[in-house]
C-alpha cells in the first residue's frame, strides 16, 4: 500500500481548492469569504460550489469575489454581480419567481395530491368493506335460523 499516502495527499489537495494564496489580514474576512463562495455554484463542475471547485473559472471567480469584498462590497452586491452575468444558476438557493414555482412548490403540491388520493382511496375501501361484510336481509334470517337450531340442539342434550 505504498501508494496510499499519495492518494490521500491528492484527496486533501483537491478538497482545499487552493485557498492558501489568499491574504485575510486586510479588509476581507476569511469566514465571510469562505461562506460566500460555498453558497455559490461553479458553472463548470456543476455539483461543486465555487469554494470546492478546482476549475480554472472557479479560481477566477473566487479571485473576483475576493476583490469585490476587498473593495467593501456587500454579500448581496457580490451575489448580484454574479447573477447578472451567469444567471440564477450560480445560486444554490434560487429566488421564488414564476419560473421557479414548480421547483419550490412542486414537491409540496405532489405530497398534497398524494395525501388527497390516499384519503379518498381509504374512504372508498372502508365503504366497500362495509358493503361486502354487511349481511343482507336474507342472510340475516338464515343466520338467525341456524343459531336457533343450534340452541335447540344443545338444549336437547341438556
Amino acid at each position: 500500500m505504498k501508494w496510499l499516502p499519495l492518494l490521500l495527499s491528492l484527496w486533501f489537495s483537491a478538497a482545499s481548492a487552493g485557498l492558501e494564496s489568499y491574504d485575510f489580514s486586510g479588509n476581507v474576512n476569511e469566514k465571510q469569504f469562505k461562506e460566500l463562495i460555498s453558497e455559490l455554484r461553479c458553472l463548470v463542475c456543476q455539483n461543486q460550489s465555487l469554494g470546492d471547485s478546482d476549475a480554472g473559472l472557479a479560481d477566477d471567480l473566487r479571485r473576483e469575489v475576493y476583490d469585490l469584498m476587498d473593495q467593501g462590497r456587500s454579500d448581496q452586491e457580490i451575489v448580484d454581480f454574479l447573477v447578472s452575468r451567469y444567471g440564477d444558476f450560480v445560486l444554490y438557493d434560487p429566488p421564488i419567481k414564476p419560473s421557479t414555482y414548480i421547483l419550490w412548490y412542486g414537491p409540496g403540491a405532489l405530497l398534497l395530491l398524494g395525501m388527497l388520493l390516499l384519503g379518498r382511496t381509504l374512504r372508498q375501501r372502508r365503504a366497500q368493506i362495509r358493503t361486502e361484510t354487511d349481511l343482507s336481509e336474507e342472510e340475516r334470517r338464515r343466520l338467525n335460523q341456524l343459531l336457533h337450531e343450534q340452541d335447540e340442539a344443545t338444549g336437547d342434550k341438556q
Binding site: V44, D60, R85, F89
Partner: protein
Amino acid sequence: MPAFVRYLTPLILFLALAVLLYAGLSRDPRVVPSPLVGKPAPEFVLPELKDPQQQVALADFIGEVTVFNVWATWCSGCRAEHPLLMRLAEQGVRIYGLDYKDDRADALRWLQQFGDPYIANAFDESGRVGIDWGVYGTPETFIIDKQGVIRYKHIGPVTVEAINDTILPLIAELQGTPG
C-alpha cells in the same frame, strides 16, 4: 367514474411523467441560459491579438450585426468548430473573436495553421472580460445586433444545424432592421 377511466388513469399519468422526464434527459445540463441575452453587451477594451498596439472594443461592433466568438487554443471544442467559423467568414459574416485565457504565441500559431476567420481578436489574457460576458465554457458564440444588444448565445461548438437553423436566419433578420 367509468371503469375505463379508472384503468387508463395510471397509464396516462405514467405517460405524462415519461414525457416530462424524457424532456429533462434531452436537455444538456451544461447549457445554462444566459441572463445577458436581450441586454446591451458588456463594455470592454482589450489589446488586439496580432497587434497588441491596437485595441478591440465593444464600440467596434456597433452599427453592424456581429458574431462574437469566445475561443482558446486549449479548448478542443474550439478546434472542432473552427472550420464552420471559416465557412461563416467566407459567407461574409462579421466575426470578432475573444481569445480567452490563452497564450499569445499559441493563438497566433493556431490562426496561421487553421486559418483566421476573425476581423480582429480581443486578447483576454486574464479572463476578466470573459467574466463580464458570463463565459463559463469555451467555445461560446454571441450574436450582437447593430445597436450592440446581445440577441443570441450559443454554448459549445457551433454546429451545422445551429448555423443553418438559428445563426444565419437571425443574422439576416437583424441586418434587415435599421441600425
